[in-house]
Amino acid sequence: MSKTTGNTRTGFYICHCGTNIAGTVDVEKVVDYVSKLPNVVVAKHYKYMCSDPGQEMIQKDIRDQNLNRLVVAACSPFLHERTFRNVASQAGLNQFFFQMVNTREQNAWVHLDALASTEKAIDLARSAIFRVAFHKPLEQKKVPIHPGVLVVGGGIAGIHASLTLANAGKKVFLVEREPTIGGHMAMFDKTFPTLDCAACILTPKMSSVKNHPNITMWTYSEIESVDGYVGNFKVNVKKKPRYIIEDLCVGCLDCIDACVYKEPRFFDEFNQGLSKRKPVYIPFPQATPQLVVIDPETCIDFKSNKCKKTCVDVCERKAIDLNQQPEHKEIEVGTIIVATGFKPFDASGVPYYGYGVYPNVYTALEVERLINASGPTSGEVVMRDGSRPEKIAIIHCVGSRDKNTNLWCSRVCCLYSLKLAHLLKEHTHADIYNFYIDIRTPGKMMEEFYYRMAEEGTKFIRGRVADIYPDLTDEVHRRLIVKAEDTLISEIIKVPVDMVVLSTGLEPRADANDVRRMFNITCSTEGFFIERHPKLAPVNTFTDGIFLAGCCQGPKDIPDTVAQAGAAAAEALALIDSGFIELEPNTAFVVEVDCSGCKSCVPLCPYSAISYQEDKKKAYINEALCKGCGTCVASCPSGSIKQNLFEDEEIYSEIDGILNYTNIYEVSECC
């Protein structure tokens, strides 16, 4: 405790957080102990330190007692560090003369033994008190925010966020990987609980995106790299070759008719393979943009180079360019909204449901396409063998709530299963059996929807299906037998059906990890992106300026997705309109007189913030480029680089504080 700056007067405050902290940690004992430590002028505990009275109490002490250091032991700094920094600065203290002790998340909430927990709180309080003595007044750097926004993903989340921002006058870049925007919602027939047609509500929004002067829409494009930081991101986008000159194509679709393949014969992604397409195709009639795309995987010309190129010939506008190359765009934006969506669970992951083995086993998304008037059967529910089902089983929780596949509840399956039950009944008049574990219909008008569906005569069987197999005794129909226990009557039942619908769950996209790395955000072990705080910052990420919308954050339905997209847009707007952002001042700097110019630090910086000044023969750190990791500080062989907020002395004093155990506490214990 030698080299502190001047006369250190520290105030220490520990929060009860109701009983969250005080229920485990003996806050009075902590205060009692801390008040005896050197430099501590005030030590207090209070029920809710973050409340107005709590904040005012601290500010009053700072003024009255002339405090020049502040330590607050409360929750995680991720939650309230900013709050208490503000408390300090409003009381006239530089906000960085403050140190926070995490006594809730990393102490009271994770330990049961009150004594051990209190000891830990004391150790960490002492550590912070030692540390804060070395703190220095720092200034936050203000960085202007580029008003442009990048929206990644053109599903309903990306569409809604883009429109909200564009309507507010912001320049938006919407990047979509597929040839069209619309995402999964474009594949749906009707939406629950209102049963309004998905296309009717989605396609107008899609064309608004296309036509909005503030939106630059790049479909069939992918983000290649993201650099920079909040307010100043540099993004590289790769526009994959469509082999169509976008400006020339008018969407007449003559080229599709002219293709050398007279009949479509390739897997149609949009229709889940229930129909075929040609190598030159448009994903679906309302695709936005209305541009064809040529798939090099199936186009003869790309394989043999011997195609007659009838498509090229037929195009009067000469819009087909089979030599098109990828285009690379570099854009600058201030904020990014990640709305990359989900992937439906691969139903063959539950082998005993026979998906891919028995042709009459369908996934829910396939059935959406079957029912859809613009789908492969124009809305007729005709199965792969050409027959129409009279008995249909809908199986819930396929790839959800199962440790063997995905443990989480996919949240939308119950409701869309009910919806499909209704639509299938409407289309086929078949008997519908819904096999479920629990029916979950939270949300506005959802339980009412369930009620209606039940009233329509859909049969509900509470039991998870254990087996699906063809009825070998039934020579004619070869129906599929769905075997389950009806747990409510405790009977094993075997229901013969013509069609099985697997209500597959929602999964993170397969490349979620790559996306996460590119944007420097975090994701759960499953692969859904993690929000900054589940309640208080649900659309923020741990990386400032990057927000989340839609199912990439976790399964959710369309209303929630749209709400979240709006929230993400609002967060981005709030940042943009504030004009600038204050950066954490935790950058590193070279103490020039100490530097020997050994150059060891220069190659360490991934941001090239460190350079070697040939004239002075010393290293130099560009503060604007430094992101504050501190790796160079730990590596400087002569100790000549420092990091604000994480100076060596600060960390040594923290170590010292933790281990400098004096017996004040024990003495008061036994006496």
Binding site: S596, C598, P637
Partner: protein
């Protein structure tokens, strides 16, 4: 004529090189002798302990003590000198940091004695005799110094005022130190009387070091030729220069050998070994344990490499458990 300032010099656990460095002053030694009275210098002149004892407390202006402390005799003598001297200067790497003798802190005393007196190939000692602290023969009773378990730096035994680093300190630094002492304007206590910048500052090969160094292998000078023009570290030879104080004039580098760190760390570093390790390893290539370990095979003895002079003065001081 008033008495010239009295100076004492003493050696403890050291090789004698420090004493040699005084002689290396060459004609400058005459200047020194003109200005001071060397009242105790056992390596050069016949003085006895009693000669020191007869001085009054703090009567000696400065004692320059070299060598690490590892025996009863050394401890006794430095305590005596401390009592009699106004200023104590830890002279050289051994006194400052423990030096080469402190590498013994990697072993137990017993291990060392057993090896030296019994197991070393050159040892012929069938009766396994060891030196005794006390020896009695007829009427004579002799007391011999005893080894301690731990090798210590001078400051771990007595209060030290200044440090003169190096193995040995350069005559330039010694001369400067003497001038400072004679000037009477003393630097603040604890000062290391050498520049607080790392060796690269004065290294003649500084400009040849690239700014994108990434180690793919480490080489040892006894097995590979060192390019006499280029930065030695950049050639894959461990050079402790970046973590070592300057002041020596980069003599080893001039001799085409890497710096081994004898001038000790800068004032901003607590543990020279840890710091240079951190710096060098951060810059190796390889991202998996396997790749990294393969490169690190070139450093078979990291303690001997990075703590060659600093073990006793390091944060852990010696091997803590055997």
């Amino acid at each position: 004529m008033p008495d010239k300032p009295k100076i004492a010099m003493y050696w403890c656990a050291s090789c004698g090189g420090c004493e040699e460095s005084v002689v290396d002053l060459a004609e400058d030694i005459l200047f020194v002798l003109d200005n001071v009275d060397i009242i105790f210098w056992p390596v050069a002149l016949d003085f006895k302990k009693s000669d020191v004892e007869k001085y009054k407390d703090v009567e000696i202006v400065a004692s320059l003590i070299n060598g690490a402390i590892r025996s009863t005799e050394q401890e006794e003598m430095v305590r005596l000198l401390r009592k009699k001297s106004k200023v104590i200067i830890a002279y050289g790497a051994c006194a400052q940091l423990g030096g080469i003798p402190a590498l013994a802190n990697e072993f137990q005393k017993e291990e060392i004695l057993r090896y030296v007196y019994e197991e070393a190939p050159s040892a012929v000692n069938p009766d396994k005799k060891r030196p005794q602290a006390q020896f009695k023969d007829d009427d004579r009773e002799t007391e011999l110094p005893e080894l301690w378990d731990t090798v210590r730096t001078l400051e771990q035994v007595i209060d030290v005022d200044y440090y003169l680093p190096g193995c040995p300190p350069s005559s330039k630094l010694l001369k400067e130190a003497v001038l400072v002492l004679l000037s009477g304007i003393l630097p603040s206590k604890g000062t290391v009387l050498a520049p607080d910048l790392a060796l690269c500052e004065e290294c003649p090969r500084k400009d040849t070091k690239p700014t994108d160094l990434s180690f793919t292998e480490f080489k040892r000078p006894n097995m590979h030729n060192i390019d006499p023009e280029k930065c030695i570290l950049s050639q894959g030879f461990i050079c402790i220069g970046p973590a070592t104080r300057s002041g020596c004039g980069a003599m080893c580098i001039e001799g085409n050998m890497p710096c081994t760190g004898c001038y000790g760390p800068t004032s901003r570093v607590k543990d020279q070994g840890a710091k240079i390790l951190s710096s060098i390893t951060s810059n190796i290539s390889g991202k998996t344990e396997k790749e990294i370990d393969a490169i690190l095979e070139g450093i078979p003895d990291p303690v001997g490499t990075f703590y060659r002079y600093g073990m006793a003065g390091s944060l852990l001081r010696k091997k803590v458990d055997f």
